[in-house]
Amino acid sequence: MQPNTVTTQSYLTFRLGDESFAAHVTYVLEILEVTKITRVPRSPEYMRGVVNLRGNVLPVIDTRMKFGFDRIEDTVNTCIIVLNIESEKQKVTLGALVDSVQEVLDIESSRIQAPPTLGSKYRTEFIEGMVKEGDQFVMILNTSLVFSTDEVLMLREVTETNAVDA
């Protein structure tokens, strides 16, 4: 994936509830304000709908739902992070709805610790590592793994059929 150099990597940090998460900037295309989200019928629950991104249909996933958090109302700080996921099979562009976007952090590889193996409320394979930033931990997500499941693929199909219909 990334060149195995012990250098600093850039991560975009965002919040879900009180927890901070980080995604590698290479996956991040841009950050959008929440505009009108069109709901898609017969879509899974974590699928918020689709938005128009400069003429393209962008499926939006409610990350809270995806991570098994409670759903909350959108605020002014709620943003959509446009991600570009490349797996072995194909390349997918999707939007991840998060509570707020924080900043772009440069993190040295040595600071990243391994994720805990037991007692975590997240599936640990989704978490690459943890880094202490200030007085709290930031969980670095394995972005391609989080958003490259079959469900996401299925989502793509759904959005594409809907796009055809639209």
Partner: protein
């Protein structure tokens, strides 16, 4: 002797009646025998005498006619004489028969002899008669001879017999006289004896009755006299058992009752005396109290006056307060409007600030996107990343400042809003207050009149209190009068002497008080009209003031 006066009188009169009856019986018996005697004399002896004398008369008549018959020449005259003689003879016969009927045995014999003589004469007369009827001188001479001889002899004999009867009866009369004299003497003697006896018995009985009754009455008189003098200690016993005794019995009951009543009256008058004295003191206290009350009422009255002026002031203040309240309401309405305007302004400011906040947020996003782009560019984008980070930080700061301002203005708005609301709420409250104050002012006016009424009432009250004071003083004097009356009553009762114990109790309670009062005359006690020493003059009351006998009893009374 246990005989009542009634029984005694009945007994005495019975004895007297019995004696009288005996005397009457005696007299009656004598009178009866006298009557018997007189009847015998009148019915027999006197009648015999009358009949005998009549018969003698008849004989005289007949012999005379016989002579006339002899000497008569005319036949019819002879016939007439003969008839007269016959009728007279019949009368004679009748008389002789009557005489015979009332004759005793001796008389019968005499009458028989008369009848014989008379029959002889009648025979001679028959001859004479027949000779005369021949009416010749010879016959007449013969007849005359016959008449003067045999005829006269027979007639004389008959007359003599009649005279014999007369004499005999005269003798009987003389005897009767003697016997009646004797009878009379006996009777008189008996009667005199009886009378004497009766007199003695009557005198005895009378003396006995008078003695016994007068003794009883004497006893009763003694007792009643003592009771009349008021001495109820008199012993009523050993009296006789007659009606007077009964009378004394009742008197004893009466005296006992009287004693009880007097003891009661004495105690009651003592009580009345002490109670009335107490009442007098109480009434005086009451009078004093009433005067104090009057003073208090005056004070209350002046306080009320003060209160009235206070109320007046309150009314004025209330009116002023009402004006102020109304003005305040207007001012507050003005203030409320100003606050509302402020709120509007603040809201506008908040809107503008939120626009700034929005811009800052978008700037932040742009900066983030720039940072992401720079990061993706790697080392080439490093400088740009620094700029983007700076821009992001600035945007963040302005965003936070905007949100702070927004928050502040929000809270200001809410505060101003609240103030406005409160002011709006205050307005009706103040109006209400003004109205209430107006009501207070009206109420104060009413209160003013009420207070004046109260003042009037207090004046009346004061008058009543004055009257009460006067009345209680009158009552005090009345109580004193009552005390003196009770004292008087006690004196009056002391006329009666009761038993020693009772009387001493009564007297000590009756007399101790005046004495003490006399002793303490210098003290402050309002002694009622106290006729204290007068009691000593009353008869029947034995005041024992000198020696210490009464002290034990005196100690029962409070000394003041």
């Amino acid at each position: 002797m246990k005989l009542s006066i009634k029984t005694r009188l009945i007994l005495a009169f019975a004895v007297l009646i019995a004696l009288s009856s005996a005397i009457f019986f005696l007299g009656n018996t004598n009178a009866f025998s006298l009557n018997e005697q007189i009847n015998t004399i009148v019915d027999i002896n006197v009648k015999r005498i009358m009949l005998a004398s009549k018969t003698a008369e008849d004989i005289q008549f007949i012999t005379k006619r016989e002579k006339e018959l002899i000497f008569s020449k005319q036949l019819d005259e002879i016939q007439e004489y003969a008839a007269v003689i016959d009728s007279r003879n019949a009368e004679l016969q009748e008389r002789v028969e009557q005489l015979r009927s009332i004759s005793d045995e001796k008389g019968m014999e005499i009458i028989e002899s008369f009848n014989a003589k008379w029959t002889d004469y009648l025979k001679v007369y028959a001859k004479i008669k027949s000779l005369s009827l021949k009416n010749s001188d010879s016959t007449n001479e013969e007849a005359y001879a016959l008449s003067t001889s045999t005829g006269r002899e027979a007639a004389m004999g008959a007359v003599g017999i009649m005279n014999q009867i007369l004499k005999k009866n005269e003798k009987a009369l003389a005897e009767a006289r003697v016997s009646t004299d004797l009878l009379y003497d006996n009777a008189r003697t008996n009667m005199l004896i009886m009378l004497g006896f009766s007199l003695v018995v009557a005198a005895g009985v009378a003396w006995w009755i008078i003695q016994s009754i007068s003794k009883s009455i004497q006893q009763a008189k003694e007792v009643i006299k003592r009771v009349a003098e008021g001495d109820l200690t008199v012993e009523i016993s050993n009296y006789s058992h007659d009606e007077i005794g009964e009378l004394l019995d009742y008197l004893k009951t009466m005296v006992d009752k009287l004693k009880e009543v007097l003891t009661f009256i004495s105690t009651a008058s003592d009580h009345i005396y002490s109670a009335s004295t107490q009442m007098s003191a109480t009434s005086q206290q009451m009078s004093q109290g009433s005067q104090e009350q009057a003073a208090s009422a005056e004070q209350i009255s002046s306080s009320m006056e003060e209160m009235v002026s206070n109320i007046q002031q309150n009314t004025d203040n209330a009116k002023q307060t009402e004006k102020i309240g109304l003005k305040a309401a207007d001012d507050i309405q003005e203030g409320s409007r100003a606050v509302n305007q402020t709120v509007d302004s603040m809201k506008r400011i908040a809107e503008k600030i939120s626009i700034i906040g929005e811009i800052a947020r978008q700037t932040n996003l742009l900066a983030l996107n720039a940072a992401v782009e720079a990061a993706r560019a790697g080392d080439q984008g490093r400088g740009f990343a620094v700029v983007a980070a700076e821009v992001r930080k600035l945007a963040e700061r302005s965003q936070s400042a905007a949100s702070e301002i927004n928050e502040l203005s929000g809270s200001s708005v809410s505060i101003a809003d609240k103030s406005g609301r409160l002011l709006d709420q205050i307005v009706p409250n103040i109006q209400n207050t003004a109205r209430l104050v107006q009501e207070i002012s009206t109420a104060s006016l009413e209160q003013n009149t009420g207070a004046e009424q109260v003042n009037n009432a207090i004046q009346q009250f004061n008058q009543v209190i004055q009257q009460n004071a006067a009345a209680s003083e009158e009552m005090a004097s009345g109580a004193e009068e009552l005390a003196s009356q009770a004292d008087h009553l006690r004196e009056t009762i002391s006329f009666f002497r009761i038993d020693r114990n009772q009387s001493r109790a009564a007297q000590s309670s009756g007399s101790a008080r005046p004495v003490k009062r006399a002793r303490s005359s210098g003290t402050t006690v309002a002694a009622p009209v106290a006729p204290a020493p007068k009691a000593g003059k009353q008869r029947g009351v034995l005041l024992d003031m000198g020696n210490g006998h009464g002290d034990a009893l005196d100690n029962e009374y409070e000394r003041y």
